[in-house]
């Protein structure tokens, strides 16, 4: 495999056993890799398994099957010091700016927690470092003594980023970090992500539920539907020439803040609802909403194949 891949996900599966013998196949056979220093966007609607993927990669969940290789090592086999090192190298930024910070801790303590766990700095040095991190994310050191509820959503999200940065990770999983924020604040946070990537050579897995912002921040994008990847391509290619009908409809669902353009463009509005992941359709999971569904689609799951170099998709039309 290519040496510059920081992360390789091979046939990753995560199934949840529910009551009554039911199995929720939240993630069902994912294959993708992320190059060092790039941003990989993972997009899909609710129930598609994108957040589960992120959490399995960072080992909040144990995988049911498959492998996650981080710098060539299987993360689910790590233990002891290796595991501790892994926790330093991979960090996560969460979705909900109101639930992701402990309401009983001051911001300074929240940011310093990683340093405490890994015994990185102490005393005056630690304090100085917290101030520096606060400044890095556009806040100031006097904020360290305040509690999370005193901040706005965007400010809290930046505190969450500072917490992740405190232990100098190489790789950050951003799980819908902007979907709860206002538009102007979204841009702020996205810019901050980009700036930090440039300054520190970070790699991102950026999870989102729509393509609007993701295609702006990502180098490559994976589109998920009901636990499976349906398309992976560079951001530009995906935007210019989406191959999978689901990707096409996601792109056309982005509302454009331009009335004239809005009137001109033809939109593919999908009919129906997302099927329950507990009871997914046979064959291609998207067939129940697909405008081009054929009998073949109900019978077999289309293979995930490389249609053009670096452009993968799973559709019988191709």
């Amino acid at each position: 495999m290519a040496e510059d891949n920081i992360l390789e996900v091979k046939n990753l599966q995560k199934h949840f056993n529910l009551s009554g013998e039911r199995v929720l196949k939240a993630v069902d056979g994912l294959n993708f890799s992320i190059k060092r220093g790039e941003t990989f966007g993972l997009v899909g609607e609710s129930g598609c398994g994108k957040s589960t993927t992120g959490r399995t990669i960072i080992r909040l969940y144990e995988a049911t099957g498959g492998q996650v290789l981080f710098n060539g090592e299987d993360i689910h086999k790590m233990s002891g010091d290796k595991k501790k090192k892994f926790h330093r190298d991979m960090q996560m930024v969460f979705q909900d700016p109101y639930a992701s910070l402990n309401p009983r801790m001051t911001v300074g303590k929240i940011i310093a927690e990683g340093m405490d766990i890994h015994g990185l700095y102490s005393g005056k040095q630690k304090k100085e470092r917290v101030s520096q991190l606060l400044r890095d994310v556009g806040l100031s050191e006097e904020h360290a003594g305040r509690f999370p509820h005193e901040f706005s959503g965007g400010q809290r999200q930046r505190i969450g980023i500072a917490r992740a940065l405190a232990i100098e990770p190489q790789f950050i999983i951003a799980d819908e970090p902007i979907s709860a924020l206002d538009v102007s604040v979204q841009a702020q946070v996205v810019n901050l992500f980009k700036k930090l990537q440039k300054d520190r050579g970070l790699t991102y897995l950026f999870i989102a539920h729509d393509l609007a912002m993701v295609k702006h921040i990502s180098d490559r994008i994976g589109v998920m539907y009901l636990g499976k990847l349906v398309e992976v391509a560079t951001s530009d290619k995906l935007n210019a020439k989406p191959l999978h009908p689901y990707t096409q409809s996601l792109l056309s669902a982005i509302p454009i803040p331009d009335p004239d353009l809005q009137k001109q463009r033809k939109r593919v509005i999908l009919q129906g609802e997302i099927p329950s992941p507990l009871n997914p359709p046979s064959g291609c999971p998207f067939r129940t909403r697909c405008p081009h569904a054929m009998p073949e689609c109900a019978a077999t799951m289309p293979p995930f194949k490389e249609v053009e170099p670096g452009h993968f998709a799973a559709c019988h039309l191709l």
Binding site: V183, K195, H209, S235, P255, D258, Q264, I269
Partner: protein
Amino acid sequence: MAKPILEVKDLRVSFKMYAGEVQAVRGVSFSLHKGEVLAIVGESGCGKSVTAQTIMRLVPTPPSYIKEGSSILFDGKHEITKMSESQMEHVRGNEMGMIFQDPMTSLNPTMTVGAQISEGIRKHEKVKKAEAMRRAAELLTLVGMSNADERIHQYPHELSGGMRQRVMIALSLACNPKLLIADEPTTALDVTIQAQIIDLLRDIQKKTDTSIILITHDLGVVAEMAHNVVVMYAGKVVERGTLNDIFYNPRHPYTWGLLRSVPRLDSDKNNELDSIPGTPPDLYAPPVGCAFAARCPYAMQVCKEIDPEHFEVSAEHSSACWLLHPDAPKVEMPIEAGRRANG
């Protein structure tokens, strides 16, 4: 011009809190005509939802207080700010309907959707139960639900988010309201479902000619269905105008900022997105002068001292910004904000 269906004048709403008074709405005026879709745009905390909920008198007192001098005139005869709770109960549902962001919390989980809609109908109209049920099924068909005759016997938890929002819309339409207030109707939904709901709302608006107040932070949704737009910031209207005024000739730096912070289809990945630095002011202690001054790249001395009045650009278009004062330096509008897609 015909009389407006809703006229809001100098609306001020405050919340009494431990630390003092939070002035959520600080003098908002606008009017809405029959068949018009008015979008109120702004970020969280700008007072747009409080404004909408005050029109329906849904914010509890205490902690909220409508201040002296505020006026909400509905249908030329109802002064909403002075009405009692029992009078409001008649107006709500009968003449005004509301669609909330989260349909799950606004539907009764222990009643079938048919029972809820028919109850809504029977509360305001004397019809037989069976007739009300039949009308409920009709409404569900109108909002695009197939097998309406079966759907009326389902409970909210048996439906998906998009379906619940459709039920919510049917419920709000149950009594042919003159005014529909949609408070972030698509925010909680998946993107492909959002598109369906916007389509539906636009469709229904055309069919029934209802007036709609659309509360949203999503400029894309605004571009798709609004006729006129009010931009709010920190409890005040900073700009108002037609859809084209706001998107192609915006005059307030905050509107510019809002428009520029959304990535365009063709925006360059390598460039930074334009964002508005900082955070909106805390309305517990609103700043003297223009509330946007602290975040405004064009702020002048006067902005920090005196809050600007609205300057008229045209009959329908006005903006509360000192840049429109004859003495102010001429500022070029940032290109992207006012660019038309086709040239």
